[in-house]
Subunit: 479 residues, 3 copies
Amino acid sequence: MGCVQSFREICDRQKNTNVRLSLPAVCFVWQTAMIILFGVFIRYNEESDTHWVEHRKANNISSDIENDFYFRYPSFQDVHVMIFVGFGFLMTFLKRYSFGAVGFNFLIAAFGLQWALLMQGWFHSLDYTDGKIKIGVENLINADFCVAGCLIAYGAVLGKVSPVQLMVMTLFGVTLFAVEEYIILNLIHARDAGGSMVIHTFGGYYGLSISWMLYRPNLDQSSRLQGSCYHSDVFAMIGTLFLWMFWPSFNSAITDHGDGQHRAAINTYLALASTVLTTVAISSLFQKHGKLDMVHIQNSTLAGGVAVGTAAEFMLMPYGSLIVGFCCGIISTLGYIYLTPFMEKHLKIQDTCGIHNLHAMPGVIGGIVGAITAAAATESVYGREGLVNTFDFEGAFKDMVPTRQGGHQAAGLCVAICFGIGGGILVGCILRLPIWGDAADDNCFDDESYWELPEDEESVPPILQYNNHMRNKDRGDSN
Amino acid sequence: MGCVQSFREICDRQKNTNVRLSLPAVCFVWQTAMIILFGVFIRYNEESDTHWVEHRKANNISSDIENDFYFRYPSFQDVHVMIFVGFGFLMTFLKRYSFGAVGFNFLIAAFGLQWALLMQGWFHSLDYTDGKIKIGVENLINADFCVAGCLIAYGAVLGKVSPVQLMVMTLFGVTLFAVEEYIILNLIHARDAGGSMVIHTFGGYYGLSISWMLYRPNLDQSSRLQGSCYHSDVFAMIGTLFLWMFWPSFNSAITDHGDGQHRAAINTYLALASTVLTTVAISSLFQKHGKLDMVHIQNSTLAGGVAVGTAAEFMLMPYGSLIVGFCCGIISTLGYIYLTPFMEKHLKIQDTCGIHNLHAMPGVIGGIVGAITAAAATESVYGREGLVNTFDFEGAFKDMVPTRQGGHQAAGLCVAICFGIGGGILVGCILRLPIWGDAADDNCFDDESYWELPEDEESVPPILQYNNHMRNKDRGDSN
Amino acid sequence: MGCVQSFREICDRQKNTNVRLSLPAVCFVWQTAMIILFGVFIRYNEESDTHWVEHRKANNISSDIENDFYFRYPSFQDVHVMIFVGFGFLMTFLKRYSFGAVGFNFLIAAFGLQWALLMQGWFHSLDYTDGKIKIGVENLINADFCVAGCLIAYGAVLGKVSPVQLMVMTLFGVTLFAVEEYIILNLIHARDAGGSMVIHTFGGYYGLSISWMLYRPNLDQSSRLQGSCYHSDVFAMIGTLFLWMFWPSFNSAITDHGDGQHRAAINTYLALASTVLTTVAISSLFQKHGKLDMVHIQNSTLAGGVAVGTAAEFMLMPYGSLIVGFCCGIISTLGYIYLTPFMEKHLKIQDTCGIHNLHAMPGVIGGIVGAITAAAATESVYGREGLVNTFDFEGAFKDMVPTRQGGHQAAGLCVAICFGIGGGILVGCILRLPIWGDAADDNCFDDESYWELPEDEESVPPILQYNNHMRNKDRGDSN
């Protein structure tokens, strides 16, 4: 702890947000690397290759509609919307950081999904006959999932880091994600279709640890900008709603064909509905005069979707989904009211979007719910064949029983937390180096640093405009 | 009439918008009730249960793609977007009620869909062998449809009721809907895939009757806020467009597999296109200087989708769809210009969003178009098998003929109107009780009452800001 | 050139933006014409007709899921979102032309798709046995595609033309499109699933030529409004993201069932991801202080999707898609920085949205990439059957070879350019007639001309408000 502290101090230098060299360099070099690696490794799989017709006939597949594309593409597009519009707009709530929210989200997701195709491909889709990764629509979904982990982490550091830091965070985040996912899903053989553990727990703690490493003691100097304005809150609701609506697709996107996808969608739909009511209840109950807080409506209403991620494909039962959603709405909203200020004050974790309440905690709950549901599975409820299909008790794991599966699920959760915290501290160290172009403490949450802004300053009160003007003028002279 | 009037007066008391006890209480109690009822009644159906594989083999279904999930899930997601983003953002047009529009829409839809799963389940999906309701993707769509009726009603009272009143309105609305739907679809055997009658006519008159019961004689005291600002109109266009684009999915979501869904989508697509042109024409023609009015573009362009709801699955023919859309664009826009002010002045119906022009009237037209199209159906156009499939002339109705079906359609329309008006008056009585926390006449259309607002007051002119400030101050003292 | 110039001068008269007669007249007459033509020509095809069940049994189709609706409807809905929300919101970036952007986009798309169903129907879907056009979901997609060409052209003249001019532009644009498409796809037998040539190249040059014909030498008098404000830029990002996310559906919507759709989606996904990184790099590199420009992020990030339109269904290979995206991000962004100002100053082409950089150039690149990829196709990569399927070497073209196909692709590109430029000049002549109600040079980019605006003028500085006020007052007196 002491050494972390002194490392922090060493790295605090005069800040310069000019990324004119570093950002283009990172983008060009990394994109070029992607092209080379894709050239060496990535090919179409048998369902997206022109040999599909021959493959289909050879395997006696009766129709083109059996191509996995038709099972998963609608869900893929929903997930895609969640990644780019959902996460992007959810973070536009800050009054002067909407460009950064939606723009940098766009940048790092576009990079991350390429790197994820490679990393996940090496672990999961490598064809050992020719050493190539064969990709299809399921790989695209998984790449989007992987990116989601990094976007969650972005929520914790929103407004406080430079785009170059975000790229670095994404590079390491995707790498860590792929390793962690391989350990949890393949080695430990935990099931996690909707990613409560793999995506949300990992992403949440990864972001929180980075934010802790990048603690800014004087962040209150930017407090004038660390709030929303009326229209930025409405923009954020676009993100909330697209996340909320498409979450059933998220949790069902890569589950088993047929009943697996069907059941996962139903469970998620119900959990989310339940969360909305308890979020509203707590938000009103804990506010003077019973008024609702937009922060809760924008975020906590989504916690139920996170928390059924693991168990959505199991026989959680409709009432089980409602219960999970019920609890998460309460916990997540209370988190915003009590935990976020506590963490900022006492743990030195500044969590801009409150990802601890929206992703980390509900993700852990989701892992626990998954473990319990798996351990409680019985052949009378699932049917013999259903049990094998649902938990994939095949191959090396054909002797597995539900109770032991429950233990494996719990083990998976621990791995996710460890990777999140450990990886976050590691990457946080790197991001403290004084070379990344992040803003000074009195200049956070301001698009001014990285964006050419239009001349209007409608949402900033005149006195702040004057201050901005003077500050920019000073800086313009010294640059 | 006289007793209604005096009941109104009795209920007018000093208003207090503090919902700190009532709102959480309603949310917690009702959500808990949902969990219990779901626990007792709701289970997965055979297509979403882990026994699906066995079911599939037993019924000789060749592939997982035959699971109803793949027929209906893309349409379900489109409908879901219409409910939450479509209806939610359509109502954000008011300059200071965007939070309430999108937020309360979110709340009541999330509650309503749970209650709808139960109510509709008892009527339509009850498995008499074990007394359980078995749900799958089609139930989710129907629950969203049911909620749509209540959201339409919300449009009439937007800005004038408290969230608690909205919850009550939704509870009764869903209940009435389920009964009405059962009578129209099962007892009368009318067809109504897109819900012109069942959803739009019912929802429209339900909302208008409630608004009539809640008539506010001094609503002009809130006139400063009963308008849009530039950006709120653009937000509302998000709602309009998502409703408009996904309406073909709405009308085709629960029609027959194959040609039924295909035809319903085409008819709706065409009707909506036609409506846009006549809406623009009337809007420009009736305005001084030929300028377009955003209210018309936001609302009347959707009337064609409402009006082909019933007939979309019939052989309405592409030109028939265009004609329906053509007429509805005209009627709906004229409704906004002449009827809405008339109703407010002479009938004491204050219809914030003009749902009479967007849902009630086009819904009635849709019912009539459906009756005529059904009555005119012939075996030469439909084919023997097509006629039976389209109108479901099977079981108890296997001797039905098209002309009689036309009569049944008309009877269904009458039932929808009666349930709407009757139910609305009943629920309106309940909502007049002075316990629900609705705002005073001079404080409507203002998010201030139920939301913690960010400090900026960008879209309110300074003089109003001062007034608001003084009013809040006064109230703060007295609370 | 000289005669074009003098024609321009002849047509410059006192402007009057009152479209109270012309706009309703055009809407009513054209919509009535559509109804008549649809009545005479358009019927359901065998997959959307009630005879489908009989057709299915006769053709031994095992299941309703084989109906083309299930192969293409999800992609259709994505394309539909791109047309109405994507194009509509992309153009909302101007601070006071958001109503016109999203509203007129709505109007002309709704008209254009009807006319496109007819025009494309006559060329491609005419049933010679009864002289009727038989439509299904693929026709709806093609109609949306056709409309896209006209919406691209709208981007060049945004804020400078009246809605009546836009309707005329769309009428001719759709007509030209259908002829050009028939020549390129059927006569020349070029492949162009995503429309790099047919849609983007044609639409781009069509719009640029019209803009050249409508050159306004004194447009700088409207410069106060030719920029964005903070929130209008965020609105535009909604358009950008929906276009970006759904572009894989656009390029795969009408490709072959099975591997064709699958591969086209993957290629587009990758090309777009790559484009984002190079766009960011160039935007930052060429701006003082390395700040990003929203114009580039909103537009150039989409160039990769345009440029893989033709080749997306070929075996372009994942790395090939990345390379195309890489180059297009660079070229498109440099176009915004250098080419757009050059074209305005020296070529008298005022391109409001920079469609030359987003559609025209990337479209040409897409045509070239398609030609090269086709020419380089080999049986070893595609397989015998795959080669025939992909390039449709059947019927009259069964002796075609890849190298010659490459030549045909190049010929198709030339046809698209010629139709775009030629058609644009022709239509531009018509649009210069002084009867269409377009605004004067000092009054462009202002919704005031065609829309009833709410009273707030929040995003216009006070001095401009005063000017507006005085101008409107003057005009009000003289009207």
